[in-house]
């Protein structure tokens, strides 16, 4: 056909290009069908080339004639002399046109090619192909399906086995004939007349409006409402998924990617907890299909809505934990975060969730660095309730926001300080001393001797650097009062990493503990490298306390 154009030459070019494009589509499709027939499934490359060629032809509609295939009004395949067997058989089945959807995939193209390749020149095969088309089997395509050749006959020739107008005795006529004549009215009118007086036929259906006339009608609003409910694609995909969760073979026929994307679209509207929980449950049991579907649902926004839905349904910890295990990492993290933000993680719930997940997984899911003090304190209580292993405390503090970690120190249990002092010291040593200082003394108040020991270790680890003066003095006094001068303070005097002023300050406090002071005053070779300030103070103290030259 001529292509509209500005010049004949250009028209010719367009026409030739169009013909080539159409031919290419037809030949590749035919090759795909033949290859599918021989090998069962065509090579992936062939599928992709066919689809690519079709896209270049603008995904034009394939129009089927008995011996010719057309694309964009150009002959794609066949012709009077060609022998494309599957084309005629598909035409006999009633197929007249195939239009690919814009998002058609190679899998869907291969499925169509496979069905075309399976066509045999028998009525049963043609009917089977027609059944497949009629039942929406050609996913990714819109098919124009008209009556098949077999059905066409029934529309032209009355079926003699059912209708035998030659029979004279009406009683011998098949029942179907009788109802198509006026005689039926004699049978029906008796029942109809007796029923017409029924009071029930005057009953108003709309219970909300008893004054409405008793005339059943289908208004536009109701029609639209019901049509919307019928054709809601989300409802269907959710129902299919629910059924497939209970009976896995039902879900085996649809391409997973297609199902996953449909599911994601469906759940973007309304959360279906039964589907989510079912998938998560199957995922926990290592169902590969469920896991792959959950990958499509690994979405923060969905997780938030799922959390809200579960909380609205007053779901307990068991149900809550169900959506934490088995779901994708993004979903699980966002779900837990959502529970936290909504205040749903009370101690009991959090303990049970952490128990079912495992503590490490629980922490991994929580964005620990983003927790506030209350939430972090809740986690401390969780660790205590779970009798968490000793290293959990240090890991928790290490992961928290430094300001939160500092503020949590007074809440640390004594056994933690005792057992995990060294790791905790390492963690605390990285914290802001200015902020740290405000919480150290309360730590002692709450934890007693263990806290004092901890402070000594901390002071040594930090070298007292940048500690606020008041805090430093208070801690030094505490350590001296606790008799920890020798363990905690003497090393500070000898350490060149400690600020000279601080070393001098420490010596002053050590004067309250003679034994510790004498230990600090012992001469050392490395003393010659100490700052003058420190050496002078040591000399002065040696003279005043009668320590040898």
């Amino acid at each position: 056909m001529a292509h509209p154009s500005r010049s004949p030459e250009l028209a010719l070019d367009f026409s030739v290009a169009g013909q080539r494009s159409a031919r290419r589509v037809g030949q590749l499709l035919d090759a795909l069908v033949r290859s599918s027939r021989v090998q069962g499934e065509a090579p992936r490359g062939a599928q992709e080339r066919t689809l690519e060629a079709w896209r270049e032809a603008g995904l034009g509609t394939l129009v089927l004639e008995p011996t010719t295939l057309w694309v964009n009004n150009e002959v794609a395949l066949g012709g009077p002399e060609a022998e494309v067997r599957w084309l005629l058989l598909a035409f006999m089945a009633g197929l007249r046109a195939i239009t690919p959807d814009p998002e058609v995939t190679t899998d869907e193209l291969q499925a169509l090619a496979a069905e075309l390749s399976a066509l045999e020149p028998t009525c049963a095969s043609i009917e089977r192909f027609r059944d497949w088309l009629w039942a929406d089997g050609a996913q990714g395509f819109t098919c124009d399906l008209q009556v098949s050749f077999m059905e066409a006959l029934e529309g032209v020739i009355p079926d003699g086995a059912v209708l035998e107008p030659a029979a004279e005795d009406p009683a011998q006529r098949p029942a179907a004939v009788a109802v198509c004549t006026e005689e039926v009215y004699g049978l029906a009118c008796h029942d109809l007349a007796s029923a017409s007086g029924r009071a029930e036929l005057s009953v108003v259906l709309d219970a909300a409006d008893p004054e409405a006339p008793a005339e059943p009608c289908l208004g536009d609003a109701l029609r639209r409402e019901l049509a919307g409910l019928c054709d809601d694609p989300s409802a269907w995909v959710l129902a299919e998924t629910r059924a497939a969760l209970s009976h896995p073979p039902l879900g085996a026929t649809r391409a997973l990617r297609q199902r996953g994307e449909a599911l994601r679209r469906a759940l973007s509207g309304k959360v279906d907890l039964a589907v989510l929980e079912g998938l998560a449950s199957n995922g926990r049991h290592n169902d590969p299909t469920a896991r792959r579907l959950l990958a499509f649902l690994d979405d923060e926004e969905l997780a938030g809505r799922a959390a809200a839905a579960l909380l609205d349904a007053h779901a307990g910890p068991t149900r809550l934990s169900g959506l934490l295990v088995g779901t994708g990492p993004v979903f699980a993290r966002a779900f837990l975060r959502s529970l936290l933000d909504r205040g749903a993680l009370d101690d009991d719930t959090a303990t049970r969730l952490a128990s079912s997940l495992g503590l490490q997984r629980f922490f991994d899911l929580l964005n620990l660095s983003g927790l506030d003090l209350d939430a972090a304190a809740g986690l401390l209580r969780l660790l205590e309730a779970m009798e968490a292993p000793d290293d959990a405390w240090a890991r928790l503090l290490d992961a928290l926001d430094p300001a939160v970690a500092v503020a949590l120190l007074p809440s640390l249990p004594s056994r933690c300080l005792r057992a995990q002092a060294a790791p905790l010291v390492k963690v605390c040593a990285r914290l802001d001393p200015g902020a740290l200082g405000a919480h150290l003394l309360p730590l002692v108040e709450s934890q007693g001797p263990h806290a004092v020991r901890f402070l000594g270790l901390l002071l040594r680890a930090c070298h007292g650097r940048h500690w606020p003066s008041a805090t430093l003095r208070a801690v030094l006094q505490l350590l001296v009062d606790a008799g920890a001068g020798s363990q905690a303070l003497v090393p500070l005097v000898h350490s060149r990493e400690v600020d000279p002023h601080t070393r001098v300050l420490v010596l002053r406090y050590l004067e309250q503990d003679r034994e510790a002071l004498l230990e600090a005053l012992q001469r050392r070779v490395s003393e010659f490298l100490d700052p003058q300030e420190v050496r002078d103070r040591l000399q002065s103290l040696r003279r005043s306390h009668g320590v040898g030259p």
């Binding site: 499925a111 009629w134 029942a175 179907a176 006026e182 259906l205 009608c217 026929t253 907890l273």
Partner: protein, 413 residues
Amino acid sequence: MSLAPHGHEEDALGLVFARLFVAVRTLKVHGPEHPLTQQQAAALTEALGLAAPPFSLQFVEQAVFRDRALVVLSPANFVRCRWLAEALLAAGGNELVVERRPDVPTALAFLQRLEPGPARDTERALETPGLRLGKLDASLGVAAHEVDPELLAAVQLTRAIERAEALCLAPEAPWAWPQGVAVVRRVERAWVSPEAAERVLETAPGARHAARRGVTAAFRALACLRAVGAAPFVQRVLCHGALALCLQGLGTRGGVPLPEAAAALLPRLVASQDPTRGRSDPHRERVSALVHDLAEPSEGSPLAALAGLVTLLYDLERLRCPAGATFDLSWLDLLAEALRRCPSRVDPRWLRVLLQTQGALPPGARVRCDDGREGVLLASARADTRHRVLVDGLVVAPASAALILAGDGHGPS
């Protein structure tokens, strides 16, 4: 003379068409006396003999049937058959009856009559011995070349019920999807005349076995969903679901409750894996999802609305044949009962739709015609038909009819 299920492959007929085509061409080029023409005519008679007469060929639309069974042709023979069909149509017929193997002169005479030429006496067209041209009997067709829609609808439903009966023979076997689909397609095709379909289903004498009730429920599902404008895939899924549930649950008078029927049906749907159905089977998934929803109803079910329609139709069919009784309830009895159950046990929305499918006025209602006469409504007006009202024993078709409401002075006595 029913359609053979598997049709005929072209084999011997292909040879007939091929030789016929060559013979006509040879005749046209060389004339009837040429030895080549005689040779081709002899070859044609041989081919006709090999095709085992007597037989008849019907040319319908673009198809050819042998004794009303489809002949599956190769593309080359398809083209030849089109030519032959056109030639026969020009000669005044679309059915060729071969009574016996013709001799060569008869064959030549037949070939000559197929040539285009001056108008012939169509009544004597192609009256060669042993070869007879006729016209297919499409009685009372709307366009005079097809079956009357009411007859077609009646045939389709009768065939659908027969197929459904076959499905009932194995109540515990995996569900036979191809047969189920075949039933639903015939129900769809019966929509060519909904009124006739209604009459066949409701007033035809005969037992109300599960197959008939299943087809009835399927047809009503189709009617309701067409009334609301649902997509074709929804119509088909619900038809199939309603059919399968009725066949499963209404095997005895009284039947079983719908959830029980659905629970029994679901494993059959799951178990059936037809290897010829291909990898993609959305229809099966959707029907199974619907039945699953009915078997295991849950809060927030996505198909709750559609389940309401299936529940309504199933319960009506279940009520039709009460357990312990020898009589069946009429359709109007069932509608009245549904009205009584509304809205607590019946979704009023679907009941409205169901009544709407009976026409804007329910059948059996007392109506007043535009000329003032009163009668009983038999069938409501459609797009291209009028109301049919029974007035004093006569069926009339008034331009309009109004419902006579209860309490109206002209109401029923």
